[in-house]
Amino acid sequence: MSWIPIAMLAVPLLGAAVLLLPRFAGRVPRGYGLAVSGVTLALAVAMAAVFDYGDTARMQFQTDVPWIPGLDLRFHLGVDGISLPLVVLTALLTFLCFVHLAGRPQSRPRALAFTLLVLETGMIGTFLALDLLLFFVFFEVVLVPMYFVIAVWGGPERRAAAVKFILYTLLGSAVLLLGLLVVWSQAGTLDMVALARGNGIARSTQILAFLAIGAGLAVKAPMWPLHTWLPDAHTEAPTVGSVLLAGVLLKMGTYGFARIAIPILPEGAATVAPWLGAFAVIGIIYGSLACLAQRDLKRMIAYSSVGHMGFVLLGFATLTPVGVNAALFGNVAHGLITGLLFFVAGAVKDRYGTADMARLGGGMLGRLPYIGSLLTFACVASLGLPGLAGFWGEMLALFGAFRPAAELSRPLFLTFMVIGGIGTVLTAAYFLLMLSRVTHGRPARDRGPAVDVTAYELAAWMPLVLLTLLFGLWPKALLAITTPAVQAILPGVGS
């Protein structure tokens, strides 16, 4: 029984509940959300500090109490090297969203703070849960607040985007639930740790369950061709919504592969992996090409997520330690970099009143030199420049595909690797063309002076910039945590 994971769930949830008190009606203290998410972040940092890095494969900070005894459901929480980075990332991004909101208050601040705190509870819970149904519950809890974030605080087309988002992902969740129930009925337990140790599910059932669970997670990731909810949701969502959507929600899908689909259903994974890899590389090329022809800045960043998640899924598909490492690294890097990209894109949209590249004109480096430079930095990081975080995930995923697990076809994965390599060039192409179009050139004369980056914005962005640099220059900081855990979930696979 450890109190830290419980506190990490309780603090944002209680924080949200307190907001319901009638005395907060209409006037919520300015720094309230900041304080609550700050405490959560402090807890996450404390957890990372106390975490035993000598044994990252072991589940630490475990809490395991009966929840619904009749159904044998347990309230089982814990972290290991796979989930720890994501937990900290979630707490950090939520905190930074509140920093952003402190500098740029939105309408209905009480409702927004409430929604975001509930969202945080769900996101952190997803990464902490070690019981399949508990995981599913947190997975679903996230959808509702995100629906409201998009539907209430979004752009002009927000209703349609929010409905599409929730229906599409709910449909995915239904399939996911079916898969989880298949696992339960066959193995007789819902405990992830026990299931990963070996569960004796027959191969054909494993394939079926993997297909169901994989499809559910693939909607969330999102994997091509199940991605079309994403561009609409991102384009319409407010800045904080986009940041959390790209930074954390997409990771819940890919995290599911590392936590549930691959360790619990290894034979199913081995059978389906070539298809997963194929869809992943199609997604890389398809996403990059779609970006190349986009006119809207936020929509382009949304499609770039399809491409980047393609690299993450390709890493999983190789079923090698290096590939899964790459996927986990790519997850964190994408969360940091795309979070930053959406923050900056939001700042651009606030100042220009539009995110349409043709109407933005050019010359942002002349008009808003700091924002233009930060946009350049984020794009360069996102296109996978070595020395910044985005590189290691992509490079290791390609390296994993260079020699996939023994039971997979090597020529097929070599083809995937080459296609992925072409994808990196296309990724560079669309980011640089966008930069050339938006930041270079002379600013239009009719625009008045604009406020460059504000102190709140800098405070919200700098941690992301610094972490991108840190993990880029010193990838060991992350790989040392994930490698032992990854080797533990892939038994029987040599290095």
Binding site: P225, T228, A290, L292, V322, P386, V425, L432, G441, S495
Partner: protein
């Protein structure tokens, strides 16, 4: 001793960070002049210390060099587990690395000092000099790297700096396009390079360069790996067919062209082949391919150089041609000749670019048709550039004479199947090089001044127009010193390789070079006002357009990709998302159909029930 290498890499990096972040702090109270002065210190001081460290490392190599491999300085900071082959973050300074390290830091120092004067009026000097520092750091990382992945990190950061610096005057869309093109073309080659590293690393079980060189790898794997590496080399060192970015890269400030696009970064490809030379020697087919690429590239680029009017583009094509000479030496089996030519070329080509910068600064235009007769007004530059052109054409006693002789002798004695082709191309190229050097020299410094039309002045928009109004600008002292300093090695460096001098091939190549120069001279003598490039006749336009390769790439690659991208967006909207919306509409429609039955009419319900009973009864009777 490895601390020196670490210091040499880290100091410019810190300088870059300080220059970017610290020049204008506090933002409101720092006047532009203070910021510029501060940035200049952040730029010059670290690279000066780096240069001292690099020279020290090289000197130590030279002193202890007789003890064989034991003199290599190496150190590993950490091993990074990846779940497969680990990455070892380590440096290793051997003889080759020490030598190139000196070249990089000395040229970088010269360029930083020169830029203080050249970019005097540029408001963005702090970021400019910081990117040069970052570049220096990245290049030193490539040179000193002990691990292939570490090398690749530096390799790509160099590409980024090249992109940022080519696009330094980003107000002009043409510069922006050139920067993007440079990054994308080299990135395309780098994908192959990365896959080559994968192949070597996985076969050797380690990314450490020493382990890779020592590993016993099957020849077929080696051929595949080196061919893949060659893609990156061709991209970075601007070799056929990935060379088209380099002439456009001349859109950047001239000091950048001197540092990145002449002396150091573009030579990195040659350096990497030399660094991994045992691997390449074991893969003869790769060396043959390299030889053919080099032969085609050196002659084609030299012909293009002969037809250009832009002085910087002449130098850019000559860089491609000279890099092909180095590649040819590698293909012929002599890495010594290649590196010798790399070092002398680094010195004389940087000198040529810096001189060209002085000329351009003075004239206010890049075009040679706006120059002429500058011999008297720019005497120092004239003599320095004369040394540079002599070295480029391979005339004694300049450095290029000795190194080019070494290359030609290596090709002559090579046993490669492509030897005859390569040798022929090399000799013709020597003649063409003499011709274009003479043409550029004569058209810049001799004859009568040709005025700059007012509309063409200030084609980069960084304040040259003011010079025109104020009359001729004085050339700042900080620009002349680096020129004079670089002229010394450009003239004398060749004597370092005098031991391997091959008199016979030297005589042949000097005669051919003089022949080329003589033809141009006689043409120019006939009518000094006209361009000697007219001797190319109908081939002049194809040469000037570099044989239309840009157009071909545009038609075959750029446009189809953009068309495909638009197709994907359409498909995504109509087919992929169309299916989603369609299923939504279908569900709504279906529920509409079902609703028809639920209309509240009791008669209809009873009719339904009766019809059902009837159906069941009939079914039972028929099936029973």
């Amino acid at each position: 001793m490895i601390v020196l290498a670490v210091l040499a890499i880290l100091l410019p990096f810190v300088g870059a960070a300080a220059g970017l972040l610290g020049s204008r702090v506090p933002r409101s109270r720092t006047p532009a002049r203070t910021a510029r002065r501060r940035a200049a210190w952040f730029a010059v001081l670290p690279v000066a210390i780096s240069a001292v460290a690099a020279v020290w490392l090289a000197a130590r190599q030279a002193i202890t060099g007789d003890h064989g491999a034991a003199d290599t300085v190496a150190g590993t900071l950490a091993e990074i587990e990846t779940g497969s082959v680990p990455i070892s973050v380590g440096l290793q300074v051997g003889e080759l690395s020490a030598l190139i390290g000196v070249l990089v830091t000395v040229v970088a120092l010269a360029v930083q000092v020169y830029s203080v004067g050249y970019m005097r009026d540029d408001p963005r000097y702090p970021s400019y000099s910081a990117f040069i520092s970052l570049f220096t750091s990245a290049m030193l990382l490539v040179v000193y790297a002990g691990d292939l992945i570490v090398l690749y990190v530096g390799w790509e950061i160099m590409g980024l700096c090249s992109y940022l610096l080519i696009g330094h005057w980003w107000e002009d869309r043409a510069n922006s396009r050139a920067a993007v093109k440079a990054f994308l073309v080299t990135r395309l080659g780098d994908v192959g390079f990365l896959f080559g590293i994968f192949t070597l690393g996985l076969s050797a079980g380690s990314f450490r360069i020493d382990d890779v060189l020592a590993a016993d790898i099957p020849t077929s794997t080696l051929i595949a790996a080196t061919m893949l590496l060659l893609a990156g080399v061709a991209g970075k060192s601007a070799q056929v067919p990935l060379h088209t970015w380099l002439p456009d890269a001349m859109a950047g400030p001239t000091p950048i062209s001197a540092l990145i696009h002449a002396a150091t970064m573009v030579a990195a490809g040659i350096f990497v082949v030399a660094r991994l030379y045992p691997v390449f020697l074991a893969a003869q087919p790769t060396l043959d391919v390299l030889g053919v690429i080099a032969a085609v590239g050196m002659l084609g680029a030299a012909l293009s150089a002969l037809a250009q009017d832009d002085l910087k583009r002449v130098l850019a094509y000559s860089t491609i041609s000279q890099l092909a000479f180095m590649a040819a030496a590698l293909a012929a089996g002599s890495d010594h000749a290649a590196i010798f030519h790399l070092v002398t070329h680094g010195a004389f080509k940087a000198l040529l670019f810096l001189c060209a910068g002085v000329v351009i600064h003075y004239v206010g235009s890049n075009l040679m048709s706006h120059m002429g007769g500058l011999r008297t007004s720019l005497p120092v530059t004239f003599w320095a550039m004369t040394i540079g052109f002599a070295a480029l054409a391979g005339l004694p006693p300049a450095s290029g004479f000795f190194s080019k002789d070494a290359v030609i002798a290596a090709i002559e004695h090579s046993r490669s199947p492509a030897q005859l082709f390569l040798y022929g191309c090399a000799l013709v190229t020597v003649g063409v090089t003499g011709a274009y050097s003479a043409r550029a020299w004569l058209r810049t410094f001799f004859g009568s001044r040709r005025p700059v039309p007012p509309s063409d002045a200030d084609d980069h928009g960084h304040g040259r127009a003011q010079h025109e109004e104020r009359g001729r600008p004085a050339v700042p002292r900080s620009m002349l010193w680096p020129v004079v300093l670089l002229a010394v090695p450009a003239l004398l460096l060749g004597f370092a390789g005098v031991r391997e001098f091959d008199a016979e091939s030297a005589a042949i190549s000097v005669v051919i070079a003089l022949l080329g120069a003589g033809v141009v001279y006689s043409l120019w003598r006939g009518s000094p006002a006209q361009d000697p490039a007219r001797m190319l006749g109908p081939f002049r336009v194809p040469c000037e357009r570099a044989f239309y390769l840009d157009t071909v790439y545009d038609r075959l690659v750029a446009r189809p990709v953009l068309r495909l991208a638009r197709g994907v967006v359409r498909t995504d909207d109509r087919v992929v998302d169309g299916a989603v919306r369609g299923s939504g509409r279908a569900a709504v429609g279906l529920s509409g159909l079902l609703r028809l039955a639920q209309n509240g009419n009791a008669q209809l319900y009873v009719t339904g029930v009766l019809a059902g009973v009837l159906l069941i009864a009939v079914g039972v009777v028929v099936l029973a």
